[in-house]
Symmetry: D2
Subunit: 341 residues, 4 copies
């Protein structure tokens, strides 16, 4: 059994990790760590787990965690993991960081969007299995992708890899449910305001943008700018990303769908659809559904990806990465059919 520890256990990505790992046949939940909620019963913080997991949240001692756990999930806000992963790595544990701390090849990008990096020398693999499967298997530290980047990179990788689109006019307009904002109440997620609202935010400089750009630029072999704008809408789970891109050469919808089907032919969690996807087809599952339409006359392709932000967009993908790291079938514990309705 793989002994798994979760740091930041009071948050939503931790809750989703626990939901998934409770059904994972090869994992034992070894320790749940929190900060202000240390000392509380897990079921007080996440009442859904009553009778499923009887634990008290503990204050983390990273030295001990690194020695006793096989895998440590950092389900923490940004700026936590970078201070403690080096300590964990002194033990035997491997690490999957669900925060942004190790996602950037260049620590200066991290510094620009977040803060000065505390452990820039730690080497991590970007945990998108569809692009880095082999490297993930060998990684000591995996940087689990952001929710938006997961949807956006998967929806654009085939087009960019095949050099089919104008790279200076890549527009991505994304919509997210409110669970992406995390467990801390705030005015923007206050139900009386959020319950009927459509709200753009971080319209030109969302922190997930450099992450997409880094990965898509590597695929393109040159710098890609992603004109990215996210919106908060009154659903709880789900991200829909709508990429508007301009084809360099005329292609039909059928040709592009073939290309996507080929590109993702061995992927267990990417489903290419004949029609544009909707989030209610993926909720609760680890799927990324992708569909597209082509405006042949104008040369625009619309590529839409739908994920559950907490699953493929966070914790499901983290478990997928863990499976790869421990040489398990990649889908172990991830047979989670979507709930619809």
């Amino acid at each position: 059994m793989i002994r798994a520890a979760i740091v930041g256990a009071s948050g939503y990505t931790a809750a989703e990790l626990i939901r998934i790992l409770l059904g994972h046949p090869e994992v034992e939940l070894a320790g749940l760590y929190a900060f202000t909620k240390a000392g509380q019963e897990l079921t007080r913080v996440h009442p859904q787990f009553k009778d499923l997991l009887d634990r008290t949240l503990e204050k983390p001692d990273y030295e001990i965690i690194g020695k006793s756990a096989d895998i440590v999930f950092f389900a923490t806000p940004h700026k936590v993991a970078m201070n403690h992963v080096p300590t964990v790595l002194r033990g035997k544990a491997r690490v999957i960081d669900l925060s942004a701390d190790y996602r950037f090849d260049d620590p200066r990008v991290y510094e620009q969007y977040y803060t000065k990096h505390a452990s820039p020398d730690v080497k991590a693999v970007y945990g998108l299995p569809e692009l880095y499967r082999e490297q993930i298997k060998q990684a000591r530290v995996v940087a689990n992708p952001g929710c938006y980047p997961t949807a956006v990179i998967l929806s654009l990788a085939p087009l960019i890899k095949h050099d089919l689109i104008e790279l200076d006019h890549v527009v991505v307009d994304a919509k997210s449910g409110t669970s992406g904002a995390g467990a801390s109440p705030s005015e923007r997620t206050h139900h009386p305001l959020a319950g009927t609202n459509i709200a753009p935010y971080a319209a030109i400089s969302h922190r997930h943008r450099p992450e997409m750009e880094q990965e898509l630029s590597k695929l393109a072999g040159r710098r890609v700018v992603v004109h990215f704008t996210p919106h908060l809408i009154p659903a709880v789970r789900g991200i829909l990303s709508t990429a508007h891109v301009f084809l360099k050469k005329a292609k039909t919808q059928a040709e592009l769908l073939d290309l996507y089907r080929e590109f993702y032919s061995r992927e267990p969690f990417v489903r290419i659809r004949d029609e544009l996807p909707q989030t209610n087809q993926v909720l609760g599952s680890n799927y990324c559904d992708i569909g597209l339409e082509v405006d042949f006359e104008s040369g625009r392709a619309v590529v839409v990806a739908a994920i559950d932000n907490l699953t493929k967009g966070a914790s499901g993908q983290a478990v997928q990465n863990m499976n790869l790291m421990f040489d398990l079938d990649e889908t172990t514990g991830l047979h989670l059919p979507p709930l619809r309705p």
Copy 2:
């Protein structure tokens, strides 16, 4: 023109007051007062009012407010008004308090459910026009009813006044949208949790219960216990109260509807419906819609009332009271047809 001041201008009942008073032909919004948000532009706190009202929120000086305003609305949390109304009353102003501070005839009840009362000698009229119209006209201080009590008292008054029901088995089960929880974010109104949730709260001892009991007991001429349980559901506006009561003598639905129609025949804001009401028929308006069904065999009557908690349940009713106090047509400024959808 009536010069109106609003204390507690950053909250939702204040926003609703402003929405209504902007269309009131006899009122001038003289001062908007806040505490932690004093000094901010109104439109920063309530962005909907851009171009409609250009004001800065001020710190209240109750002495001055009492001298300069004709009517002062306390749209404050409980325990504020009781400390400052006496100061306001030294001036010429009259007061409508939307908090609970002056709703109880007996200050000990207030003390039991809230705190020790700071100004128990201030005399106030309970601001339910359907019961206290004449007294409201003369009142210096009106205690605007709570949102639940408005729905519950109006839905039960005819039955209790006519001594038609068993007074020891009055069960009222109420459901409210989240705006009733106010403008301060908290876990229970955090959209990721509240957006799909049905949550009972204060199941046996909600603070609005003694208020209903006080008024219904006066109507009955003896003590009425209201077995009251409210629930939070994922709508923003709207309260539906469902009263389950047992008839002392057999009555048909038609007979009871006639009774209600007669009881409320002169009321501009109570609509008796042939069918059970739904909240989407009253949102944005000052109406209280009431309907009922009778289970003839078992002797139960189900009386349902629907209101917009911010309008008839708070600010609309406050304006209705103000109209009475200033001898205006009671409906002035309250011609607010419901929005459906």
Copy 3:
């Protein structure tokens, strides 16, 4: 492997059955049957199952189904099963009917609330494992309970069994998400109207009422009237039932909680909570969470039960029954931790 057939595969309870059975290690989905949608791909009707189940919906031939399947789930509207179960039973198959057709001991009750019964001689066991576990194991036909009755019976059984409450004043006020209304669009589930609405319906004579009364009366040993009123609220999944009952003798909350814990001590899917439950703690799972509060002074107990109407309220319970019928561990395939958020 148990060969399972589902009749009525285009509906929501069928979708939930498929979601659960896809993860059931002992079941093979043998046939999916539909009527107007026969001939369509499953994934056209339920797009969430792409890559998970590749099937075409077929027109049912009940003779063949009865011979080839081990278990037949009728996930059909009322009035379908009663016409075809006798044919199915000529084969070897056993039957779990998720509709109301076989829930009543007395076919005259069915006739009163639905229609004249076409096969009143078929004997079925009421499929609430907490009450009828042993009978279910032996049953040829199981009548799966309605969603509301599941919550209501489980929440009241301990009190009634122990004769603790007044049986003539049992009030149950229930709230349901819209998925309970089924897959057919109608005005009452049209999002522009339902999305902000709180709506009572069938306030005195809901079809689930005689079902609760039948079972609670058997427990009481005499006729129990349930004063039941349901409401539709703007959530998709989830039922919360709030029972307001009057204690014959004074009991504390702690005493009653002990009683409930004892009563359900061996039940894998009933969780007794220290606090009142909320639906967001059970969504996607087979749990029925129960909590209660006692108003000692007035003698009222408020007993609240929360279920996912599609899971414990329908398809999860059906699988629980199937497990019992085929001598499997009762929880097989039902390790479905709730999704929260």
Copy 4:
């Protein structure tokens, strides 16, 4: 008093017209006409109007309507007005058509997106007051703009008029609440599916696209292609349109905001905001709120517009047009402060 008739009175834009006109001091609601619901009480179809308007829906006789009404609102589905407006025009009435029938200068465009036009010779003015105020005043027939075009045209007009953006890469991604889908229930607006969903639709060829292109092309003086994709999200009211455009010359956010403030300086219903707008700031009102951000480095401007689709996106704008046609103050009856929350 202006005598107003509404054809198509059972729909949502008609309900919104009635809501507004009930408060309009110069209008008398002369006749409400419907088709399948003719003969029904208005309050059976729109229960919110109980006690506000006591009318029976009538079958339309266009000859008589044209003679007796001063203004006829066609709040009908597409393809109705074009068959009957010529008859109405034989009388004295003027017409505001809320459908698409008269929005296109070139009837071949209508034919391509809808059907062959039955009355291509009727001349209509496009009813966007911000662009066509003087022509509207003189018009016999006004074609009220679509909901999406209202938001999109207003958000792009200043940039296009001043030739500031690349016209071959205008991307507009829009999000709408479900009331835009109208009053007829369907699977896409069925609450169990729509209540948690984010769904793109008509991604390359929505019917509102040629309407935007027609108007923006006229402003540009040459053909503008709008790369338009709408989405349905789980709110009831509100449209947010997000335009992603590329500046021909570097401009700061402040420069562009100045340009917008200047362009709309005399407009009563366009509010230019310092921050990006959200729909909860305009619901229930006739405002179009616009804000923008500039990504100086990449040259992209993001221009966001928020409207209530039923008000400025339909019926509020229709009343604004009527006011112009009858030489009233343009804001008469439209003092509708937004509801927030």
